[in-house]
Amino acid sequence: MKKLKFNVIICEDVKNTINRISSVVFEYFAESEIEIDCYQLQSDFEKAITFAKNTDGARNIYLLDIDLKDRINGLTLAQKIREYDYLGYIVFITSHTELGMRALSYKLKILDFIDKANANYKSRLLDCFETIVRESAVIKNEDTHIMVKSGSDYFPVILNDIIYIETDSIGRKIIIHTYKRTIESYVPLKEIQNMLDDRFFRCHRAVIVNADKIQKISGDRKNSILELAGGNTCPYSSRKAKELMAFVGKIV
């Protein structure tokens, strides 16, 4: 098992706060087997972005004060970091939490917003590290997920969660359906198919289905529909009917 390595990058203007945060970092990781390098960059945006560009086998953890110079600068930094580093972890340290920014957290995959003035900021920070270590252990297992590029973001999608994948009526994009989300992407269906494992069957020119999620095959010629988990349905090509049955039989 490859040893986990993290680069912890702290962008914070106030010297006092940097010290506080660094001490928490060292405190947590000293006890674990995990190797870390800690970089204190005050407002050196360029340096932070350089780290984002060359991850070099390590995972980056960015602790950003979003009130650097002015708010929009801090947020733009986070956005730029995300552009280059879609796997790194970003934690916002701020003294304004009322602009909670849930949508922001989602879009830039921010792990947490921590109020540095709040007394329990330390425990919040420790919780974050806990989550990071736990998650990285899971993601290391390459088999269970694929990275799908949607727009300029990369989304990890767990193969087990995929119910089916279809193309839109024009054929320029694919839509991946899971229980809790749909993701659209310009990756061609053929390319996605290569990334999947043998649970998946191309049952139609425009549909790849996860055989595990098939609940019922409607055998009608006119109405070839597969009933899938989560209340989904998808069509299948009658030409592939036999092959489909065989495939499903094999899995079962």
Partner: protein
């Protein structure tokens, strides 16, 4: 002479019909014009009787101009233009009539020198007029150069504008007649061995084809102008909307200033009567709440300043302000200038508007009552991410279908509209997710 009178009759009938059909002028005007055109027929005949060609044309024009000026009381230019157009009509019909007789009723046709010259002068008149008219069109194509007077002239002459359907029908009819002509004349020429006639006919056909091309070009130009006009009109509409929103905002600010005064007075009451506990409660409940409300409104106004698409800006403003006023917590951050050009503004507003409506409907019924919106720009893409709280269960597989709604029957159209629009735009990606008790819609627009 006889021929002339027939053609004039035809011209009158045609013009009469046109003036009745023209839909832009008042009824009285239409009737007056119709009568004048009818009258012009007689003037034409009279002029012909009294004066020889080509002076008769001039005489006709002069009389018509004076008559028009007297009846309609317009400026000289309008009268002249009207008269020229009427004369144009007469001459065209004369030509058609003569040619028609020659082609289809040969036995009635007697070629005379007068007739020949009449034909020649008419053709000349028509062609010169056509050139002049086109020249005028070109000169006034750029609306900015036209003087007030000229605009009035053009408006007055709108009686000669054909309704679009009739335009198509007439064009088709003329083309069919022309085609028949083009087939028979060369055929008969070949049969009789009269190759001069054949060459002449071919030449005319060629000219006709060329004119068709010119026509297409002009139509194209007209279409372009239409489109520009519609766009400008849309822009004006949305600007009006935006101004309205701003004015509403100003109104609100005025009102709250007024409210403050009242609040101070009521606080005074509490103090005078020494009801301090109640004062504390009042302060928390009423005053702080409205303070937050105003600040929140102003935040939205400041945040949406970054949106350069005016209709989008006012849409977001309006909907989020409404949400705030109903007690929904609204988070909004816009990272960079948002100026989306790759999607038609109307479609963009429909998509965002419906998503916002849906978010509002869900949030207001939820316990947490929160809507969170960000917009950002990445290299060559715009992103709009909208989250809202919700209660109960949301079935992602069904949420896009028409009629699926937690709000009862006859609702639930909004998201299906969004889905349809997104499908029509391959450059928009829509990701949906349910995460941490939030319903998330994330759209990415390629530039």
């Amino acid at each position: 002479m006889l021929v002339k009178s027939f053609s004039v009759v035809f011209a009158m009938i045609a013009a009469f019909l046109v003036s009745i059909g023209a839909n832009t002028t008042a009824k009285s005007e239409k009737i007056k014009t119709a009568l004048l055109i009818t009258l012009s027929g007689f003037i034409d005949l009279a002029a012909d009787f009294i004066l020889p060609e080509p002076a008769s044309v001039l005489g006709f024009l002069v009389v018509l101009v004076i008559t028009h000026k007297v009846i309609f009381k317009t400026n000289l230019t309008t009268s002249v233009a009207f008269s020229l157009l009427t004369a144009f009509l007469h001459r065209v019909f004369l030509i058609l009539f003569i040619a028609g007789t020659f082609a289809f009723a040969r036995k009635y046709f007697t070629a005379t020198t007068e007739g020949y010259f009449s034909l020649m002068y008419s053709m000349l008149f028509i062609n010169v007029s056509a050139v002049v008219i086109i020249w005028f069109y070109n000169k006034y194509r750029n609306i900015k150069n036209i003087s007030e007077k000229s605009i009035n002239t053009i408006k007055e002459l709108s009686i000669f504008v054909l309704p679009p359907k009739m335009f198509g029908v007439l064009y088709a009819t003329v083309s069919i007649i022309d085609t028949i002509f083009c087939i028979f004349v060369p055929l008969s020429a070949l049969r009789t061995g009269n190759y001069e006639l054949y060459t002449g006919a071919m030449f005319v056909v060629g000219m006709y084809a060329f004119l068709m091309i010119l026509n297409m070009a002009m139509l194209q130009g007209l279409l372009r102008s239409e489109i520009d006009l519609t766009t400008k009109t849309d822009e004006v509409e949305t600007l009006k909307n935006y101004t309205e929103t701003i004015e509403n905002l100003l109104d609100e600010m005025q009102k709250s200033r007024h409210d403050y005064k009242n609040m101070i007075l009521s606080i005074q009451d509490f103090v005078i009567e020494k009801r301090f506990d109640e004062l504390g409660k009042y302060f928390e409940d009423e005053i702080l709440k409205s303070e937050n409300l105003e600040r929140a409104s102003k935040n939205i106004y400041m945040a949406t300043k970054q949106i350069k698409n005016l209709p989008l800006k006012s849409l977001v403003n309006a909907k989020l302000n409404e949400a705030i006023s109903k007690g929904i917590k609204v988070e909004i951050t816009i990272f960079a200038e948002i100026d989306i050009k790759s999607v038609m503004i109307l479609d963009l507003c429909r998509i965002v508007g419906n998503l916002l409506d849906n978010a509002y409907d869900a949030a207001i019924e939820s316990e947490e009552k929160i809507i969170s919106l960000i917009m950002l720009k990445n290299e060559n893409q715009f992103s709009i991410t909208l989250c809202n709280s919700f209660d109960g269960d949301v079935d992602i597989s069904k949420v896009w279908r028409k009629g699926y709604s937690s709000k009862g029957k006859n609702r639930g159209q909004g998201l299906s509209i969004v889905k349809k629009l997104i499908e029509q735009h391959p450059n928009i990606l829509l990701n949906t997710e349910i995460k941490n008790n939030l319903f998330v819609q994330d759209i990415t627009i390629e530039e």
